[in-house]
C-alpha cells in the first residue's frame, strides 16, 4: 500500500519534471526542421525560473478568480496524473478515484477557470481568445464523449488501466478497426486541445490570431509561471493518455518495485520523443486552419470516432 502511494507520487514528480523538457524538445525540433538553430531544449526551465523570481502585477479591477486561476491550471493536470498510467501498467493507489471521463472533467475545470480569468481583467484580447477556446472546446466535447463511449463499449470499462490491457491481449486486438480509428480521432483531439498547428499556432505572437495564448496575456511573474507550467503538464498528460492507454501500452513497469519504475522512466520518455517527432511532422507540413474551418476539422474527428463505434457494432 505505502509503496503504491509512493509510486503515485513519483508519477506526479516525473510529469512535473519532464513536461517542460518535452515542450523544449518540441520547439527545438521544429526550429531544426525550419533550418534554424533554435533555443536550448532547457529553455522552458529557464523561463519558469526567471518568471518565479519576477514581480507579479495584478490589475486592481480583477477579482479573486484572477488570483486563484493559476493554481487551478497548475493543479488539475496533477490530479489527472494520479488517475492515469504514466509509468506502471498496474493500478496505483488513486487509480480508482476516477475514470477517463473524470479525468476529462478535471482537465475541463482548469480550462473553465482559465476562461473566467481571461474575461475577468477586461483586457480586450482575453475574452476574444477565451470565446475562441470555448468554440474549439464545445466542438471537441462530443468527440471526447464518443471516444469514451467507444472505449467503454470495447473494453467494458473506462478505467484507463483496464482499457490499455484490452488493446494488446491478444496482439491481434491492436488492429481492431475501432482501436485504429480511435487513435486517429484522439490524435486530432490532442492537436485541438493542445492548441497545436492545424487548429492554433502555439508560437504565434499576433494577438488577433491567437486562440489559446491570449488567455494568459494578463499574467506576469509567478502566476504566469504556474499557467505556463500547467500548460506544459496538460500536454504531457494528454500525450501520456494517448501513448500509454491507446497506442503503445508497452515499456511500462509491470512489477511493484522501485527498480522497475525507474527503468520505465526512460522508456516512457523515448515513446514521448517518438510522438514529438510525429507532432513535428504534422506541425511542419500543415498550415493553420481558418477559424471557421476548425469546425470541419473537428467534424472530421467526430465522424472518425463515430465510424469507430459503428465498426465496433458491425464486428460481430
Amino acid at each position: 500500500m505505502a509503496d503504491r502511494i509512493a509510486f503515485n507520487m513519483i508519477q506526479v514528480l516525473v510529469v512535473m519534471a519532464f513536461a517542460p523538457l518535452a515542450s523544449g524538445v518540441l520547439s527545438r525540433l521544429k526550429e531544426l526542421v525550419q533550418s534554424k538553430r533554435g533555443p536550448s531544449i532547457f529553455q522552458p526551465y529557464r523561463d519558469l525560473w526567471k518568471l518565479f523570481h519576477k514581480d507579479e502585477i495584478v490589475s486592481e479591477d480583477s477579482s479573486w478568480i484572477f488570483l486563484f486561476t493559476p493554481y487551478m491550471i497548475f493543479i488539475t493536470p496533477i490530479f489527472v496524473t494520479l488517475l492515469i498510467p504514466v509509468l506502471t501498467n498496474y493500478p496505483l493507489f488513486f487509480a480508482f478515484m476516477g475514470d477517463m471521463i473524470g479525468g476529462g472533467f478535471v482537465l475541463a475545470l482548469g480550462g473553465f477557470f482559465a476562461t473566467l480569468a481571461a474575461i475577468d481583467t477586461a483586457n480586450p484580447y482575453g475574452p476574444m481568445g477565451a470565446s475562441r477556446t470555448r468554440m474549439v472546446g464545445f466542438l471537441a466535447e462530443p468527440v471526447f464523449m464518443i471516444v469514451f463511449f467507444t472505449v467503454s463499449f470495447v473494453a467494458g470499462s473506462t478505467i484507463p488501466y483496464i482499457v490499455q490491457e484490452k488493446w494488446v491481449t491478444p496482439v491481434a486486438n491492436f488492429f481492431m478497426p475501432s482501436h485504429v480509428l480511435l487513435m486517429l480521432a484522439f490524435l486530432m483531439l490532442i492537436l485541438a486541445e493542445g492548441g497545436r498547428i492545424p487548429v492554433d499556432n502555439p508560437t504565434g505572437h499576433f494577438e488577433l490570431a491567437m486562440i489559446d495564448e491570449s488567455k494568459s496575456l494578463e499574467y506576469s511573474g509567478r502566476g504566469f509561471a504556474l499557467v505556463k507550467w500547467g500548460g506544459f503538464m496538460k500536454m504531457f498528460v494528454l500525450m501520456s493518455i494517448f501513448l500509454n492507454v491507446l497506442v503503445t501500452p508497452w515499456g511500462l513497469a509491470a512489477e511493484v518495485s522501485a527498480g522497475d519504475i525507474l527503468l520505465s522512466i526512460p522508456q516512457v520518455l523515448l515513446k514521448i520523443f517518438i510522438f514529438l517527432l510525429l507532432l513535428v511532422v504534422i506541425e511542419s507540413s500543415l498550415s493553420k486552419l481558418r477559424l471557421f474551418r476548425i469546425s470541419e476539422f473537428l467534424g472530421a474527428a467526430f465522424i472518425i470516432c463515430v465510424a469507430a463505434m459503428i465498426a465496433q457494432v458491425f464486428t460481430y
Binding site: 491478444p170 496482439v171 491481434a172 486486438n173 488492429f175 481492431m176 478497426p177 475501432s178 485504429v180 480509428l181 469546425s295 470541419e296 467534424g299 472530421a300 465522424i303 472518425i304 463515430v306 465510424a307 469507430a308 459503428i310 465498426a311 457494432v313 458491425f314 464486428t315 460481430y316
Partner: protein, 234 residues
C-alpha cells in the same frame, strides 16, 4: 492458427472501416482531385479486404478479385479519367454543394446507421462464418455513393460517386459469396471501364460546349431567357 485467423479478421475489419471512412470523405471533400484520390484509396482498401478474406478462407477466387481490382480501379480508371476529362476540372474547388458539409456528413452518418439495419436480414440468412463487417459497410458504401451523387454538383465527383457505389456492392459481395465467379468481377470491372470512358468523353464534350462542368447549374435545356429577351428587343 486460430490467432492468425483472428488477426486476419481484424485486419479485414480494419480495411472495411477505413473503406467506410473514405466513403464519408467523398461526401465532404471539396476538391475534385481529392475525391479521385479518395476513390483510389478506397479501391486499394477493397482489394486489401479481398486479399485478407482470401487468406482467411483459402479462396483462389478472392485472390483473383483482389488482383483484378488492384489493376483496374486504382490505376486504369484514374488514368482514363485524367486522359479524357480536361485537367482544369481537377484543380477546381466546389463551393456550393447541395447541403453544407457538416449537414451532409450528419446525413451520411444516418445512412451508415441505416445500412446496419438493412444488413441484418442478409446476415441472418448466411452461415455464421460469413458474418463480418463487410456486409453492413458495403451497403453503407453503396448508400453513401448514391448520397455523394445527390449532393455533389461537379461532373467528376458525380462519376466517382457512381464508382464508389460499385465498390460498396463488391465489398459486401466478396464477403457473402466467397466463391464469387471471377468472370462476374471481370465483367463488372470492364463494364466500369466503359462507363468511365463514356462519361469522361461526355464530360469533355460538355466542358468544350459550355466551358464548365458544374452540373448543378445546368438546369435548363436552352440558354438563359434574359439573353434571349435582349436579342429579341435588339
Amino acid at each position: 492458427m486460430n490467432s492468425t485467423n483472428q488477426l486476419l479478421d481484424n485486419l479485414n475489419a480494419l480495411a472495411a472501416a477505413l473503406f467506410l471512412l473514405t466513403a464519408f470523405g467523398m461526401v465532404a471533400m471539396r476538391q475534385a482531385r481529392g475525391v479521385l484520390n479518395l476513390f483510389i484509396a478506397q479501391s486499394l482498401l477493397l482489394s486489401a479486404s479481398a486479399l485478407f478474406l482470401g487468406l482467411r478462407f483459402h479462396s483462389d477466387h478472392l485472390y483473383g478479385v483482389a488482383l483484378v481490382d488492384i489493376i483496374i480501379k486504382p490505376v486504369i480508371i484514374p488514368w482514363l479519367l485524367r486522359r479524357t476529362a480536361p485537367a482544369e476540372i481537377y484543380t477546381r474547388r466546389e463551393v456550393n454543394q447541395a447541403l453544407n458539409i457538416p449537414t451532409a456528413l450528419l446525413a451520411a452518418l444516418a445512412l451508415a446507421i441505416l445500412a446496419y439495419f438493412l444488413a441484418q436480414p442478409i446476415l441472418g440468412a448466411v452461415a455464421p462464418q460469413f458474418r463480418n463487417p463487410n456486409v453492413p459497410i458495403g451497403i453503407a458504401g453503396l448508400l453513401l455513393g448514391a448520397f455523394t451523387i445527390t449532393v455533389r454538383r461537379e461532373a467528376v465527383p458525380l462519376l466517382v460517386g457512381l464508382l464508389a457505389m460499385e465498390n460498396g456492392a463488391f465489398l459486401a459481395g466478396i464477403a457473402i459469396a466467397r466463391d464469387l465467379p471471377l468472370i462476374v468481377e471481370l465483367a463488372v470491372a470492364s463494364d466500369g471501364l466503359i462507363v468511365v470512358f463514356i462519361m469522361g468523353v461526355l464530360t469533355r464534350a460538355v466542358y468544350r460546349q459550355i466551358g464548365s462542368t458544374a452540373v448543378g447549374e445546368l438546369a435548363s435545356l436552352k440558354e438563359a431567357p434574359e439573353t434571349a429577351g435582349e436579342e429579341r428587343t435588339a
